[in-house]
Structures are given as C-alpha cells and as structure tokens.
C-alpha cells in the first residue's frame, strides 16, 4: 500500500507541474468565462489549453494536508480540480469562489491560477453511487462518488488510513482520516460503502488514465454495511491445498484460516507456507520476520492469481508449535507440469546452462543482487532465483554445465486452461543448491578451449607439415645438388686419375732419365776417380821419379859422369814404365766402360794380350763371387796380375802361367804362378837397377792394406801371392775417409 501511494503521489506531482508550465503560456488568452465545473471538464484539451477564464463557486470535496493548497471542489454541475498554489489550503466543506483559467491538465481539464475566496462552509455534496468498474474506468475523475466493496486491508499510512477495497475483481485504494480504533479493527472483511473524490492518476505525456484513488474527506464517509465475520483466527484451519478447492459457502469476501510451516519469507511481500497438503503463497504486508521452520497461522482472502491460488491481504502470527525445519520434497518435473507443488518447497535436479546476475537496480522487489540460474531438466528449462544483499560467491562459482540439485519455492506459471507453462524456483538460502556433478569435460567453455587447442594443434601440425614438406623439397634439391656435385666430383676424380696416370707415365720416363743420368754420374765419377788414382799412383809418381833422376843427372853430369849415366838409365827405365802404365790405364779406361766388368775375365784377356807373342799359356781360375770387390781393388789387382804376367813373360821363360783368384767376404787372394826358371829374390835385379815390376806389385798391395809373398827358387818357377783384405763391406775402399788421408 505504501508503495502504491508513493507512486500515486509522484504521478500527481508530475501532473501538477505540467499544468503550471502550460498555464504560463496561455495566460494572455481571453474568452468567455466558464462558470461551472462541468464546463471546464467538458473542454477539449486544446481549448482548455487556451486558458479560458473560469469563475466557479463550490464546496471543497478533497484537500489533503500535504497537497500544498491544491484541492477538489464541486458545484452543482460536478467536480473539478483546482491547481492552487497560494498556499492557502482550504478544507473539505469550505465553500469557495474560484476564479482562474482553464488548463488541459494531465488527464481531465483543471482550473489553474486560481483566486480563492472562502465564502463559508457547507455540507459536502451528495456522493454519486457508482459501480467500482465505472470508477476504475476513470470517467468519474474529480467527482465525489460512493462505491461499495469488501475491505481487504485497512492500515495506517501516516496520518491517514489506507484502505484496500475489493469489489467485482477490482481493488481500489482509498485514503481516509483515521477512524476510531474499534471501527478500524472491524473494517477488514467488512462490507462497506466509501464516499470520496475520485482522483485519477494519469500518464501526463500521453494523457492516459492509469488508476483512481479515492480520497475520503471524513470518517463519516466510511459506512459499514456488514460487519466482518468473527475473528477469522477462530475459524477452523483450512488445509493450504484446500483454499482453492470447492466449498459450498465459499465467498471471495470471506477470509480463511490456514496454518503451516514457513518455508520462505519475502519481507513485506509474502511468506510461503507448507503443510501436509502442499504449499501456499501468502501475500502479506506484514514485515516482521519469521524464519523457515516457524509454524504460523495466517488469515487472508483466498484468491486466484494467474490461475493459481494465493492468500491475499493476509495477516499471520506465530504459533507455539515447535519449530520444524522444512524438508523440501523431491519432485519430478512431470509433477510440476501437472500443476503440483506450487508455492511449495521442492528439490529438483537440473543442469546449469546459464547464469545471470542482476544488480540492485534491476530487482523490483529487493535490494541487493539477484542471481538467476538457468537450469535444464530432461524436457524443460527453469530458473532458480536467489536474492541476496551481495554477490553470492558460491552461486557464481558453480561451473556452467554442472548437474545441480536446487531446493526452493516452486512458483508455477499457469495458462488459463490450467496448463503449466513454466516454473521457477526461489532459493531461500544459497545452501539450497548443491552440486551433484561437476560439468563433464565437454562444457561449452571447455569445448571452446578444446576447439582452440585442436585448432592450434592443427595449425601447428599444418605448419609443421608445410615446414617438413618445404624441408623435404629443400632436402630433395640438396640431394639433387649433392648427386650432381658427386657426379662432378666423380668426373673430376676420373680426370684426375687420368692425369695421374699420364703424370705417372711421364714421371716414369723422367725417373728413367734421372736414373740413367744417375748411372751416368756414377759411371763418370767412378771412371774419373779410377783414372785420377791410377795416374796419381803411377804416372805422376813415376814422372816425379824421372824428374828427380834427371835433376841428379843435371847435378852430376860434369863431376860424376858414371853416376849421372846410372841415373839417366834409371830415368829412362822409369819412362818406359810410365809408357806401360799409361797404356794400361787407358786400356783400363776402355775396359771399364763395359758394363759387366769381371776381374777374372779381365786378367785372362790382358794375360792373353801380354803372352800373345811368347807362346806362353795362361790359365785363370776363379772361385767365389767378386761382387764385394771395390773398383779400386779390382783395378789394382788387375795391375798386379798384369805386372806379374809381364815379369813372367820377360824373365821366367815359363810354359804356363797359372792365375788363381780366390774371393771370399773378408779377403781376396790373387796368386800368379809360373813354371819358369825362377830366381833368387835377394840377388834379383830391383828398382835400384831400373826394374820396377815387383816394386809396383808391392806398392799396390801396400796401398790396399794387403800383403805380398814372392816365392821363387832357381829352377822351380816363381809364385807371387797377394792377399788383400776387404775392409768395408760397402766397397768403400775406393774412397778412403778424410781421416785416413790427412
């Protein structure tokens, strides 16, 4: 009631202020003065807005103390609203003369800018009895009327009594002065007549009627025709389910008495009760708190709201019954669809498919936050609402997709055929919701995330594939390149091999040439060495000897002619020797040029040459290998052999000369033996006598570090044996070391 009045007042204020605005614009207008209220009301809005002068006389029918001077007045023709701003607040019953101008007002035309003149007082004019539906049509705006109906509620509202009058399905609000307590107590449930001025509330912009409030100016205007029945709390208790059931004496005007356990309270709005028969919404403006489980009695007017039973305008009180915690009933959705369990505390399971959170501004009934869970059962969708002063963490934390069990007051919504269109649950507390099962993995969010992941994976996979194929392409081209490179390499290799072959062949030729040159070098060197040594050992010494002899000859030529002759003879012999030596050296030079020099063969050849003319026989016997013999040794042995043969040819007169050459790794033995006449070595002509043959043999042998034995006796032939050690296995005898020389 309070709420509705507030609403009304604000609406009225809006209307009034609008009047004011308009009137200022129209003030200059002049026309025929209207002299009764009905004429003013009869003005079409357009004309009324032109500010037609009004001068009326009438009785004030309604002037609430908080209206700041504004009032309703009525003359014989009818009532009209006066937008009085003079602060002179007339009282109902005052007779006033009002002069002002017309104004279209918010709904019905009004008088504005009035000049008031109180003429006196008078009884209020007769109220016109009208039906409540006529009143509620808005047609009787500003008129003093009388309506009748059942008082459903009579509550104090400031200095006034707010009355809710119900009749013919209408509910009219009326404000009256506070009557006597007894009267007031007897009002609820009584059949009354109310007289007052109908004040329409309107949507001023549209000039649309909204509702009518009745302002009762005096307590006498409340007439009780039929008193209320006895205290309804004394009536027998009716089951909650029973109030909408048929009763023979059932009347909408009669209150019923019910009792039940509180399941939920919306303070100042309603409480929900439960008994064995079911649940009931009990609308009440009583705001005192009851707790769920409290047992209460209530009386109220049974009504049907949206095709469902409700107890209206109820009052309730606690009983002495012990408190019993309400147990929600487990129900099937099908039962609800059959219309059962309306306003009862039930438990339902559903899957949470959405959640809405509404701020305080959006909630019409409650401060704070309304959390709305949208739940799905097998074949329907319902919501569960929870009002709380602040955001409920638990409710907001329930994952979407969870299977939850909710317990709350079931509110069905029925069609006119009684078919249940939908239902919702009011959650008394947040404990009334329980998560049965967390959402399966496949919640929409998860689905999105999974899709995102799958997409990402696919993206990665695709990029990877692309990358791999690119890499493959690259690898392929690399392999191709490599193969090509390999082919090239192979070609290069083949070429190289060919070149190597060519080069090898070339080198072979070169090496052969080099080898030949080396051989040549060696041959040249060897020959040079041999010749140098030979000349040094023979010719050079002999020539030195000759020179020395000739020096002597030169010195002694005059003083000692005999001695000089002797030396001259020696010199001559030496020269002859030199000739032989030279010849042999040159011969040796030639023989050396042959590649395969063989000492045995050389001895035989030169022996045959030497004995050629003498008829002497030469025999050469060789044993052992001559490989290790140095060239110098060979040379000297050859010379020794030649010398010995020469001696034999010259002096022995032998038939045969036997030459034995014995070679072994350590020494070489050369023996020249003849079968000639022999000689006595001691008396034999020597070098002093100009015979140098044996001397040469001795000297050569000595130079080779060897020994010589000469055995001869007259008649037995001569034997010359030469033994030469082979010092150095590498044949180094030809070139003595520097130490040996120096």
């Amino acid at each position: 009631m309070t709420q509705e009045k507030k609403h009304f007042s604000s609406r009225l204020a809006l209307v009034f202020s609008f009047f004011l605005l308009q009137s200022q614009v129209m003030s200059a207008h002049a026309a025929t003065t209207l002299t009764n209220a009905a004429d003013v009301l009869a003005l079409p809005a357009k004309e009324a807005s032109s500010g037609i002068p009004v001068l009326v006389n009438g009785v004030v029918t309604a002037a609430e103390t908080n209206w700041n001077g504004k009032f309703f007045m009525q003359d014989a023709s009818g009532g009209v609203y006066v937008d009085n701003r003079t602060k002179t607040q007339p009282r109902p019953g005052d007779v006033v003369e009002v002069s002002g101008i017309s104004h279209p007002g918010g709904y019905a035309p009004v008088i504005t800018k009035p000049h008031l003149k109180k003429l006196g007082t008078a009884p209020l004019p007769e109220a016109k009895p009208i039906t409540i539906d006529r009143l509620m049509s808005g047609a009787e705006d500003s008129q003093r009327v009388e309506i009748s109906g059942i008082v459903h509620s009579a509550q104090l509202s400031g200095t006034r009594l707010g009355i809710e009058l119900v009749s013919g399905g209408y509910r009219v609000r009326a404000f009256a002065p506070i009557p006597a307590e007894a009267v007031r107590q007897s009002l609820v449930g009584a059949k009354v007549r109310l007289r007052g001025t109908a004040a329409a509330a309107a949507n001023a912009d549209l000039r649309h009627f909204v509702t009518v409030t009745l302002f009762i100016p005096q307590t006498a205007d409340i007439i009780i025709d039929e008193a209320a029945p006895t205290n309804p709390f004394d009536d027998p208790i009716m089951s909650l389910n029973g109030i909408a059931q048929f009763r023979k004496d059932r009347s909408p005007d009669n209150q019923v008495h019910v009792k039940g356990v509180v399941t939920y309270q919306r303070k100042g709005e309603d409480i929900f009760l439960h008994d064995e028969s079911g649940g009931l919404q009990v609308k009440t403006k009583l705001a005192w708190a009851v707790a769920p489980g409290d047992a209460v009695e209530a009386v109220g007017f049974p009504a049907v709201e949206n095709y469902l039973p409700v107890l209206e305008d109820a009052v309730f009180r606690k009983t002495t019954d012990p408190r019993v915690a309400p147990q929600p009933t487990n129900v099937m959705v099908g039962e609800l669809q059959d219309g059962k369990h309306h306003a009862d505390l039930i438990t339902l399971q559903g899957r949470l498919i959405d959640r809405l959170i509404r701020g305080a501004g959006q909630s019409t009934n409650n401060d704070g936050i309304q959390t709305i869970l949208v739940l799905q059962t097998t074949n329907s969708v319902f919501v569960a609402e929870k009002n709380s002063s602040e955001e409920n963490n638990f409710l907001t934390s329930i994952p979407i997709g969870s299977l939850v069990e909710v317990s709350g007051i079931c509110l069905l919504e029925s069609g006119d055929n009684g078919k249940i269109k939908s239902f919702r649950l009011l959650l008394p507390t947040s404990h009334d919701i329980r998560i049965v099962k967390k959402p399966g993995w496949l919640t929409p969010q998860h689905l999105l995330v999974s899709l995102a992941i799958v997409f990402a994976v696919m993206l990665v996979a695709i990029s990877w594939t692309v990358m791999v194929s690119k890499k493959n392409l690259m690898l392929k081209s690399l392999v191709r390149e490599k193969v090509a490179a390999q082919d090239e390499l192979q070609q290069a290799h083949d070429q190289l091999e060919e070149r190597v072959k060519e080069r090898t062949a070339q080198l072979k030729v070169e090496m052969t040439a080099r080898k030949e040159s080396e051989l040549q070098f060696r041959a040249v060197l060897t020959e040079r060495t041999r010749l140098a040594q030979e000349l040094h050992d023979t010719l050079e010494q002999t020539l030195t000897g000759i020179a020395l002899q000739l020096d002597l000859v030169a010195n002694q030529f005059e003083k000692k002619p005999d001695s000089a002759t002797h030396h001259l003879k020696l010199a001559r012999n030496l020269m002859r020797q030199s000739q032989v030596d030279l010849h042999r050296s040159v011969w040796g030079l030639r023989s050396r040029a042959e590649e395969h020099f063989n000492l045995g063969n050389a001895l035989l050849t030169s022996g045959q040459q030497l004995t050629d003319q003498s008829g002497m026989r030469i025999e050469v016997e060789t044993s052992g290998a001559a490989d290790s013999l140095s060239e110098i040794a060979e040379e000297n042995l050859l010379r020794i052999g030649q010398e010995a043969i020469t001696n034999a040819v010259k002096h022995s007169g032998a038939q045969t000369v036997k030459i034995q050459l014995e070679l072994n790794p350590k020494r070489v033995t050369l023996q020249i033996k003849d079968d000639g006449k022999g000689f006595v070595p001691e008396t034999c002509a020597g070098p002093k006598d100009g015979h140098f043959g044996l001397l040469g043999i001795r000297e050569r042998t000595e130079r080779l570090g060897g020994q010589v034995w000469i055995a001869s006796q007259p008649g037995t032939g001569t034997s010359i044996r030469v033994e030469i050690p082979i010092h150095l296995p590498n044949g180094d005898q030809s070139l003595p070391s520097p130490a040996e020389v120096s």
């Binding site: 040594q533 010195n555 030496l574």
Partner: protein, 209 residues
C-alpha cells in the same frame, strides 16, 4: 861417409821411385843425409822417434796414415820438429791442412827440381817454405765458404756416386734434408751440378780419392 853439420832427414813416401829420387837428391847434397826412410805414416812417426831427424820430408798421402796426420802427431810430440810436405796435391784444402798440421814447408812434386833442396834447407833452418803458387792456392781458399762436417760427409757419399736417396739412407736423414745439403754444397763450392761438385772437392782437397 859421415858429414859434419849434416841436416839429418827422414824421408817418408810410399812411392819407391819418388823416395829413391828424393834420397838420391838429398844424399847428393854435401850437408844433408837421409837417416831413415818410411813407406807410410805410422812408420814415419816411429822412425822420427828413433832417429830424431832435423827434418821430416812427408808425402801427404800414404797408406795406413797420411802425411798430414803423421805431421800432426810428430808436431804434437815434438814441437821443434821440422816438417816439409812433398806432395802431388795442390788443392787449397790440402795445403791448408798440411800447414795447419804443423808443416813449415810445402813442395809440389811437380816442382821438385828447383825447389826441393832449397825448401829442405829453408825448413831445416827454421824458415817457412811456401812457394808462390802454393800461397796463391791458399789465398783462393778464402773465396769459399767452409763446409760443415755434415756437408763434408754428404760430399763424400756424393763422391761415391750415390744418389740423394742413397745418401739419405746411408746418413740416416730424410731425402729432403739430403737435397738441402746438396744445394748448400753446390752453392759453397760455386758449382752447378754434383759431378762438378765432386771434381772441385777432389781438386781442392776437400775429399780424397
């Protein structure tokens, strides 16, 4: 027949004809006499100790021990010993070695006629006998950078007619190193090839055949 104030001479030469000629020449001089004759270096040293001659005439090249080596040993044992080298070798190295060994005179066999007796007399008198052709030879030596012992070794192997590889094998060095030595030797001897190198080395007396 003994002569007073004789120059007592030891003659060492392995060639009889030379020895015979030299002895005849010496004995022909009134103030000289041959006190002993040797046919090799070892014998020469032995006879020097036995006869203490005033002068030793040494052939530079003899069997068993050469004249240079014998001169060195004789000089080591008797620093007053007078030694005259009589040799067929006119290489600067031969001359250098002989003088280095302590010989005071050097006579080439090719110039015995005019030089032998004056040389004997001069050396016996405590003078040096370096004829001008010998001095010229010696001077020439300065033109050449001396060979290291290792290079001489290579030169010896080379003179045997060995190739680089054989030289390397004999000397236990790498073929590359042997080649290097050869190159140095050619440079030092102022020659173009190995044959020439051996020839020059023999002529100069760096090596002997």
């Amino acid at each position: 027949m003994k002569k007073d104030f004789n120059i007592r001479i030891l003659v060492a030469d392995d060639h009889y004809v030379v020895r015979m000629g030299v002895i005849a020449i010496i004995n022909n001089e009134p103030d000289m006499e041959v006190v002993a004759e040797a046919t090799n270096g070892v014998q020469a040293i032995e006879l020097f100790h036995r006869h203490k001659p005033d002068l030793v005439l040494l052939d530079s090249r003899m069997p068993l021990k050469g004249g240079v080596q014998a001169a060195k040993e004789i000089r080591r044992q008797s620093d007053s010993a007078r030694i005259l080298m009589l040799t067929a070798f006119d290489g600067d190295e031969d001359i250098h070695k002989a003088l280095d060994a302590g010989a005071q005179g050097y006579v080439l066999k090719s110039s015995t006629g005019e030089q032998l007796v004056p040389a004997l007399r001069a050396v016996a008198a405590g003078e040096n006998w370096i004829p001008k052709e010998v001095a010229a030879r010696l001077a020439k030596r300065k033109e050449f950078e001396p060979l290291t012992p290792r290079e001489l070794e290579v030169l010896h192997e080379l003179a045997k007619g060995l190739a680089n590889k054989q030289i390397a094998d004999v000397m236990n060095i790498s073929q590359h190193t042997a080649k290097g030595y050869l190159k140095t030797i050619l440079t030092k001897l102022h020659v173009a090839d190995r044959t020439e190198a051996v020839t020059v080395a023999i002529q100069r007396g760096l090596i002997h055949i």
